[in-house]
C-alpha cells in the first residue's frame, strides 16, 4: 500500500482536476504543466540524493537565485555567451555543493546548520553581486530549452528533465555509488565498517544537489527570461516537500527517485488545480501547507502499521 500511495495521490489529484476542468486533461495542456514543473523536478532530484543519504539541503533556494542572476548578467542578451555562462554557473554550483558536503562530512557541522548558513551567505553574495537591482536577460539556448517544443509537440524542457532523471536513476539504481549512497543513508556506521568511504559518498550527494540546483535555476531563467534575486526562495520548501510526498524518510536510506518526481508533480498539479479554481495566493498557501502536513502524517501512520 505504502509503495503505491504517491501514485494514488497524484491520480486522485489529476482526477479531481479532470472533473473541475475537463479541458485541462488535453495532452498539450498536460505537457505544459509538465514543462512548468521541470525546474522543480530537477531540484527535487538533487534534494533526493541528499535526503536519501540522510541529510538535507536548505541552500537550494539561494543557489537557484544565484544561478538566475549570474546567468542573466553574464549572458545579458547575447546568445553567443550562453555556453561559457552555463559552464561557469555549473562550476559555481559544483563548488557550493562540494563545500557543503565537505564541511558536513569532514568538519562535523550538522547538515542543517551548514546548508542554512551557506544559504544565507549565497543570498548575501547574490545581493552584493547585483547591488539589489539585478540586470540582464537570457537569450538563445536557455530560451529554446524552456519554451520551444520538439516537433512542436513535446517541450524540450520535458525531454531534458527525462534525460536528467534517467541519468540520476541510473546513478542510484545501476551503479555502485547508488548502493553506497543507500547504505550510507541507512546506517552510516555500518557503511564505514563495510569499507565505504562515507565522507566521499556524502560529499558527492551534496555536490550533485548543488549542480542540479544550478541546472534548475538556469532552466527557470529560461522561463522567466530576466533576473530576480528572490526567485529561488520557494524551492527549499517545495523540493523537500516533493521528496517527502514521495514517501522518503528523513532518517535516510529509504526512498525512490521516481516517487520524488511523483511528489513534485503532485505539488505542481495541486497548484494548477487551485489556479483553475481561482484560489488566490493566500488560499494556495493554506491548501499547500495543509496538504504537506496531512500527507506527511499519512506516511507516519502507514509506517506505524508496517511495524
Amino acid at each position: 500500500m505504502k509503495e503505491w500511495t504517491p501514485y494514488i495521490l497524484l491520480g486522485l489529484l489529476i482526477a479531481v482536476l479532470g472533473i473541475f476542468s475537463p479541458s485541462s486533461m488535453h495532452i498539450s495542456h498536460l505537457l505544459t504543466v509538465l514543462a512548468q514543473a521541470a525546474p522543480l523536478i530537477i531540484v527535487a532530484i538533487g534534494q533526493s540524493f541528499v535526503i536519501f543519504v540522510g541529510g538535507i539541503d536548505l541552500s537550494v533556494g539561494s543557489v537557484i537565485s544565484l544561478a538566475n542572476v549570474l546567468a542573466c548578467s553574464l549572458i545579458s542578451g547575447d546568445a553567443s555567451r550562453t555556453g561559457t555562462t552555463i559552464l561557469i554557473c555549473l562550476a559555481v554550483g559544483l563548488a557550493i555543493g562540494t563545500v557543503n558536503g565537505f564541511a558536513i562530512s569532514y568538519g562535523f557541522i550538522p547538515d542543517f546548520v551548514m546548508t542554512l548558513g551557506m544559504g544565507a551567505v549565497i543570498q548575501g553574495v547574490t545581493y552584493i553581486f547585483t547591488k539589489g537591482s539585478p540586470v540582464g536577460n537570457v537569450e538563445g539556448f536557455l530560451l529554446t530549452l524552456a519554451n520551444d517544443r520538439f516537433l512542436g509537440i513535446i517541450p524540450w524542457s520535458v525531454i531534458f528533465v527525462a534525460l536528467v532523471f534517467a541519468l540520476a536513476f541510473f546513478m542510484l539504481n545501476g551503479t555502485r555509488y547508488g548502493r553506497k549512497l543507500y547504505a550510507t543513508g541507512g546506517n552510516a556506521t555500518a557503511a564505514v565498517l563495510s569499507g565505504i568511504n562515507v565522507r566521499l559518498v556524502k560529499t558527492i550527494a551534496y555536490a550533485i544537489s548543488g549542480v542540479l540546483s544550478v541546472t534548475g535555476g538556469l532552466l527557470l531563467s529560461g522561463f522567466v527570461r530576466v533576473a530576480s534575486v528572490g526567485i529561488g526562495a520557494d524551492y527549499v520548501l517545495y523540493s523537500i516537500a516533493a521528496v517527502i510526498l514521495g514517501g522518503a524518510s528523513f532518517a535516510g536510506g529509504i526512498g525512490k527517485l521516481q516517487n520524488s518526481i511523483v511528489g513534485a508533480l503532485t505539488l505542481v498539479f495541486l497548484t494548477n488545480l487551485l489556479t483553475i479554481l481561482r484560489v488566490g495566493q493566500p488560499g494556495k498557501f493554506i491548501v499547500q501547507g495543509s496538504v504537506i502536513i496531512a500527507i506527511a502524517y499519512l506516511y507516519v501512520t502507514m509506517k506505524g502499521e508496517n511495524q
Binding site: 557541522i109 542554512l116 544565507a120 516537500a241 493554506i286 504537506i292 502536513i293 506527511a296
Partner: protein, 319 residues
C-alpha cells in the same frame, strides 16, 4: 548526588559572555555612537522580538526539534491586531485574546504531529506556509491600523536604556528560564530531548512535554508579533519571516545543539545579544546590509563549528 541543571548550563555559556563583552568593547571603541544611551536603547528594542522568539525556540531545539513557523506566527499576530472590525466588537484587547488562542492552537498542532512522528522541519515548514496563507488572506498588502492603546504600549520608552519591549522580552526570558532551569517541567524537557524512549519508560509524559514546548515556542512567536506591532503600528503578513531562522541562529550560537538535551536559555540570551549587537555595529560602521547576510551565515557556521570542536562530544562524532 544533586543534579543542578541550571548551574551546569550557566557555566557552559560563560565563554559566550566573554565573546559578547569583547564585541561590546570593540564596538564601543570603534564607533563613537555605539556606547550612548540612545543607541543602547535602540539595540535593546531591536533585540526584543528576536530574544522572545529565541527563548521559545530553545525549548524546541532541546527536544531535537525546530520551529520554522514562529516567524509566520509573529506576522499573523500583526495582521490580526490590525483587524479594525474585530476590535470594534471586542475592545482594544480583543484581538490579543484571539491571537493567543490561535498561537496555542498552532503550537498544539505542531507539537502533536511532531510527537506522532512527522519530521519537525516538514511539520513546521508546512504550518508556516499555512499560517502565512492566513496572514496574507487577512492582509494581502501591509497596512491597517492597530489600536493606538496597544501600539503605544508596546513601544513605550521608559527613560535611559529602558523600554517596554525590552522589559517584556527580559521578563519572558526570566519566566522561561525559571521554567526550564528550576522546575520539573524543565528537567523533563532535557530528559525528553536527550532520549525520548528512556524518558517514556521513566514515566515522563513525553507527549505532553513535546506539545507544551511547541506551544511555548508558538506563543513566543505571538509575543514577538506584539513587539513588532510596537515597531510598525500596522499589519504586515511577511514582517516576521526573518525571525524563524534568526531565532534558530541565536539558539545555535548560544550553544544549544540539535543533538537534544544540551544547552540552555542563558546561552540563548548571549546568542541573541551577540546577533543584535553585531547587526547594530555593522550598520553603524556603514557596512552595506547585503554583506550582513554573508556575515550572519558565516557566524552561524563558525560558531557551530567551534562549539562542536570544543565540546566533549567530539570523540563521539569522529568515530
Amino acid at each position: 548526588m544533586k543534579f543542578n541543571s541550571s548551574y551546569i548550563f550557566v557555566k557552559r555559556s560563560i565563554p559566550l559572555y566573554f565573546i559578547l563583552l569583547g564585541i561590546f568593547v570593540v564596538a564601543s571603541a570603534s564607533t563613537d555612537h555605539f556606547f550612548t544611551s540612545e543607541n543602547i536603547l535602540n539595540v535593546l528594542v531591536q533585540l526584543s522580538p528576536l530574544l522572545v522568539v529565541a527563548c521559545g525556540q530553545t525549548f524546541v531545539v532541546l527536544l531535537q526539534g525546530i520551529d520554522i513557523s514562529v516567524g509566520a506566527v509573529a506576522s499573523l499576530t500583526t495582521t490580526v491586531l490590525a483587524l479594525g472590525s474585530f476590535e470594534h466588537f471586542f475592545g482594544a484587547w480583543g484581538p490579543m485574546f484571539l491571537i493567543v488562542v490561535l498561537g496555542v492552537a498552532i503550537g498544539f498542532l505542531n507539537g502533536l504531529m511532531i510527537y506522532k512522528g512527522v519530521t519537525p522541519i516538514i511539520m513546521t515548514l508546512g504550518s508556516s506556509v499555512l499560517v502565512k496563507g492566513i496572514a496574507l488572506g487577512l492582509r494581502p498588502i501591509p497596512g491597517g491600523n492597530v489600536s493606538f492603546t496597544i501600539a503605544e504600549f508596546f513601544c513605550k520608552e521608559l527613560g535611559w536604556i529602558f523600554s517596554v519591549p525590552f522589559l517584556i522580552s527580559i521578563t519572558w526570558f526570566s519566566i522561561l528560564a525559571f521554567l526550564l532551569h528550576f522546575t520539573r517541567f524543565g528537567k523533563y524537557v532535557y530528559a525528553t530531548g536527550a532520549d525520548r524512549d528512556v524518558s517514556n519508560k521513566a514515566g515522563i509524559n513525553t507527549m505532553k512535554i513535546t506539545i507544551l514546548a511547541y506551544i511555548l515556542s508558538s506563543v513566543s512567536g505571538v509575543l514577538a508579533g506584539l513587539l513588532l506591532v510596537g515597531q510598525i503600528w500596522s499589519g504586515d503578513a511577511l514582517i516576521g519571516e526573518k525571525l524563524s531562522l534568526d531565532s534558530v541562529t541565536a539558539v545555535l550560537v548560544g550553544g544549544t545543539t540539535f543533538e537534544g538535551g544540551v544547552g540552555g536559555l542563558f546561552g540563548t540570551l548571549a546568542g541573541a545579544f551577540i546577533l543584535s549587537i553585531m547587526s547594530n555595529v555593522l550598520n553603524m560602521m556603514n557596512i552595506f546590509s547585503y554583506y550582513q547576510y554573508v556575515i550572519k551565515g558565516l557566524i552561524l557556521i563558525f560558531s557551530i563549528f567551534l562549539s562542536l570542536r570544543l565540546s566533549s562530544r567530539k570523540e563521539k562524532s569522529i568515530r
